[in-house]
């Protein structure tokens, strides 16, 4: 890559950031200063008139369920924490990551619909279980990683002075509490703003009401006002998670000691069981009572144009997401705040993201009615994946090679792109595919940025859910799963190769 090509690369990448994030966010903020005509009814007002206090009770219920979901995820993560915590080096950590990452990348609505096929009724319990099954890998990786980095060393030292329980208790307080709190807060924020899992569990959550507001009002300010009770605690939670997690990481700078080599068999079996329950069992539940081949054929016949468009727009968005992430992270000042940026970005509800994109591009019909609007929506929603991936790759960069490149006259950004990312192209590739899969399954944002040209498969899925067309619903879920698999596979391989 020449300097000129690098410059073009960076300009396009930063342009993507401006077009998909900065401009929509600016326009949404500007719209908030436009007052609504007097007497305008909003969806939240309408709900309040109906059931008196609907919005506040719905918020409290959603927050309570999110808290339970975060707790469930931490509990489900125990075998994974043990597994990850027992890793001795980066390669083993990569192996453990590659094993447990699958539930995280699978569309949560697929897990939700799969669990629904096994358990009917008790919507709230199902919702908590599905959230737990979806996000336990986060707790496993972060808490287990903290144990692997420092906890094990302290535990062995503490064993010299007392029994196992006392030793564990001392390590828990000094090493694990912060990551646990941080992870819990992060998942609480994630679940509070989630739309798809409550929907798949036949439930109305506050995120549902927020999307209803966004789809029924021509005034973005109404959506922002409705979204504020949701966004405020979510931002507080992620800031706390970042502060707590940041301090935990800062204190884990020592090299890990030699822990036991290989994964303990019982732990490994438990982790496999968790992965089976999180992924294979829901999948089997979806397909066990239907003629799958016929359902796939019918779905293809009915929706092949929509499927093609959906895959194409999601893939283009995936490319843009990683491109943008590389360029953003190549800028040193942004790279320093990347973790916080990722956390805040990831938890913004899809309805607000979609509303921002609509507010930005509604005046431009050439974009507003074009499939590019959907791509922009996907990039705005999942751009944080690109930034996160690029940040992780940069952290693993070979400093010697980077230093040599800079001595030869390369700028930091050029060296970062040319040296670091080029050597981690499998991870970048996996990032494109993971972002594609997540875009394809996104519902809230897509509802707002859909265009007449095609029906995104995630919305077709919701339509089939409401029409009780279980055969097509299962076929689309399989499609979403199949699209997610290459990303998981390549990420796993990349983790094992250390690239």
């Amino acid at each position: 890559m020449t300097q000129k090509a690098f410059a073009i690369f960076m300009i396009v990448g930063i342009g993507l950031l401006l077009a998909t994030v900065v401009y929509p966010a600016t326009m949404l903020t500007a719209k908030c200063f436009e007052s609504m005509p007097e007497g305008t009814t909003t969806a939240i007002d309408d709900a309040r008139d109906t059931t008196g206090g609907f919005a506040s009770s719905l918020f409290l219920r959603s927050a309570g369920l999110a808290a339970l979901g975060a707790t469930a995820a931490c509990v489900f993560a125990l075998p994974g924490i043990r597994l990850v915590g027992g890793t001795v080096n980066a390669r083993q950590f990569g192996l453990a990551t590659s094993l447990i990452i699958a539930p995280l990348v699978l569309p949560p609505i697929v897990i939700g619909l799969g669990v629904r096929s096994w358990i009917r009724g008790v919507s709230e319990i199902r919702c908590v279980i599905v959230w737990g099954l979806w996000c336990w890998p986060i707790a496993a990786l972060l808490v287990g990683g903290a144990w692997a980095r420092r906890g094990h060393q302290l535990y062995e030292v503490a064993l010299l002075h007392g029994g196992k329980f006392k030793a564990f208790k001392s390590v828990l307080g000094s090493v694990l509490v912060r990551p646990i709190v941080g992870v819990w807060m992060l998942m609480f924020a994630l679940f509070l703003g989630d739309y798809s899992v409550p929907h798949s569990c036949d439930m109305i959550a506050y995120a549902t009401a927020l999307l209803s507001e966004a789809t029924s009002s021509p005034y973005p300010v109404a959506t922002v006002i409705a979204g504020f009770p949701l966004l405020a605690p979510m931002l507080v939670a992620v800031v706390v998670a970042y502060l707590v997690g940041g301090r935990a990481e800062a204190s884990d700078q020592d090299e890990p000691t030699k822990a036991q080599a290989g994964f303990p068999r019982v732990t490994f079996a438990l982790v496999l069981a968790m992965i089976t329950v999180s992924t294979l069992l829901p999948t089997y539940g979806l397909i066990r009572n239907i003629a799958l081949i016929k359902a796939i054929a019918t779905t293809w016949e009915l929706y092949r144009s929509d499927i093609a468009y959906s895959l194409a727009t999601a893939f283009i968005a995936g490319l843009m997401i990683v491109w943008m992430g590389i360029c953003v992270t190549a800028i040193a000042p942004i790279r320093r705040i990347a973790p916080l940026l990722v956390l805040v970005w990831a938890v913004v509800p899809g309805a607000l993201v979609g509303q921002a994109v609509v507010a930005a591009y509604l005046p431009f019909d050439v974009i507003y009615s074009h499939w590019m609007l959907t791509v922009i929506g996907y990039v705005a929603r999942f751009g944080w994946i690109g930034v996160l991936l690029a940040y992780v790759v940069v952290k693993q960069s070979d400093e010697a090679t980077m230093g040599a490149a800079m001595v030869d006259g390369a700028s930091t950004g050029f060296a970062t792109c040319r040296v670091t990312f080029a050597n981690h192209w499998p991870t970048m590739c996996a990032g494109v595919l993971i972002a594609t899969a997540m875009s394809l399954a996104e519902i809230a944002t897509t509802t707002l940025v859909r265009v007449p040209v095609f029906s995104p498969v995630s919305l077709v899925l919701i339509e089939k859910f409401h029409r009780f067309e279980d055969d097509i619903l299962a076929a689309i879920c399989i499609l979403l799963l199949v699209v997610a698999c290459p990303g998981i596979a390549i990420f796993s391989l990349a983790s094992r190769w250390g690239r």
Partner: protein, 318 residues
């Protein structure tokens, strides 16, 4: 570990990336290929916009026209709004309960009553044209006198009421003018396929019942005792084919108007299922439709179609 494997992956990735960069050009060309039509010239009126205020809609899903050609529209905020024949807002009212869900059907009888299948409350509600509740009947269940997600209402010349429903209870039931259950008209397997989501019905001038079997992409024809007469339609987008027919209206000249949610169009058929005319294409502009849920022909011959995702109603000339 085979060290050549990463290199092979890199070549594949580069090829895929090049292909992906060509894709937008191809897609843009496909998206730009639109048939130019003169559908917009046939639209005589268009009203509604997104919102929850008077004259605004939030995903309207059904409409009906009364004997004075006043237009009633129900949307996803569970409001029923009445408009003049020209589309001027007159009044509106809300369903008494709407947290669980909102109605997907409307029917205006010649006596002025407005029948609303209150879908997620498993009942039918009856209002006068000013929105005052007159009656309600039905309860949740799968048995006689019970409903599972009712979708539409039709009434014959004797005043008997026919109600279609789905959610595992896909059938049409018959009720007396005093709202008492009479019988099941049709259910289960019909002409080789189990009925799936009878989304709409109408009774023609000969007194026979037409049902839009939406998820089977076909139209069913019965007499009022439930005797099967004929069926036609198959899944597709060509003339004569159907994709999720969500509404049906029997015209005085014997033609059948079908509103196709999946094909974003209206299609007229003769009684044998031969396509006579097609109107509409997918889009946001005038003369275009986006996931229309309902269409009805008024006594003045004008066609009113609820253009759901565009949050509006379009009125076509005769």
């Amino acid at each position: 570990m085979n060290r050549r494997l990463p290199e092979q992956f890199r070549r594949v990735f580069q090829s895929v990336t090049r292909l992906a960069l060509i894709l937008p050009v191809c897609l843009a060309m496909i998206a730009g290929c639109k048939q130019n039509g003169d559908a917009h010239n046939e639209v005589v009126a268009m009203f509604g916009s997104l919102g929850l205020g008077p004259g605004q809609f939030s995903y309207p899903r059904a409409l009906t026209v009364d004997s004075q050609n006043r237009i009633f529209v129900v949307d996803k905020s569970a409001r029923i709004q009445r408009f003049s024949p020209e589309g001027t807002f007159q009044l509106g009212w809300s369903m008494p309960e709407r947290v669980a869900g909102k109605p997907v059907g409307l029917y205006a009888h010649t006596d002025g009553k407005i029948y609303v299948p209150d879908t997620h409350y498993h009942r039918v509600m009856v209002f006068d044209p000013d929105g005052h509740e007159l009656a309600r009947f039905g309860r949740e269940g799968y048995g006689d006198g019970e409903f599972q997600l009712p979708t539409d209402v039709a009434i014959d010349k004797q005043g008997f009421i026919y109600v279609s429903e789905y959610n595992g209870n896909d059938r049409v039931t018959k009720w007396s003018p005093s709202y008492e259950f009479v019988s099941v008209v049709c259910a289960g397997e019909i002409d080789g396929e189990v009925m799936r989501r009878p989304a709409a019905m109408d009774i023609d001038k000969d007194g026979t019942l037409w049902v839009a079997d939406a998820c089977n992409h076909r139209i069913l024809h019965f007499d009022l005792n439930g005797r099967f007469l004929s069926s036609w339609g198959e899944m597709g987008g060509e003339p004569g084919q159907l994709r999720y027919p969500y509404d049906i209206d029997c015209l005085d000249d014997g033609t059948i108007l079908v509103c196709e949610f999946g094909n974003h169009r209206l299609q007229w058929f003769d009684r044998e299922g031969n396509s006579i005319r097609i109107w509409g294409e997918q889009g946001r502009g005038k003369g275009e439709l986006w996931a229309p849920w309902g269409a009805v022909v008024g006594s003045d011959g004008r066609v009113c179609v609820v253009d759901s995702l565009n949050a509006r109603v379009q009125i076509l000339e005769k």
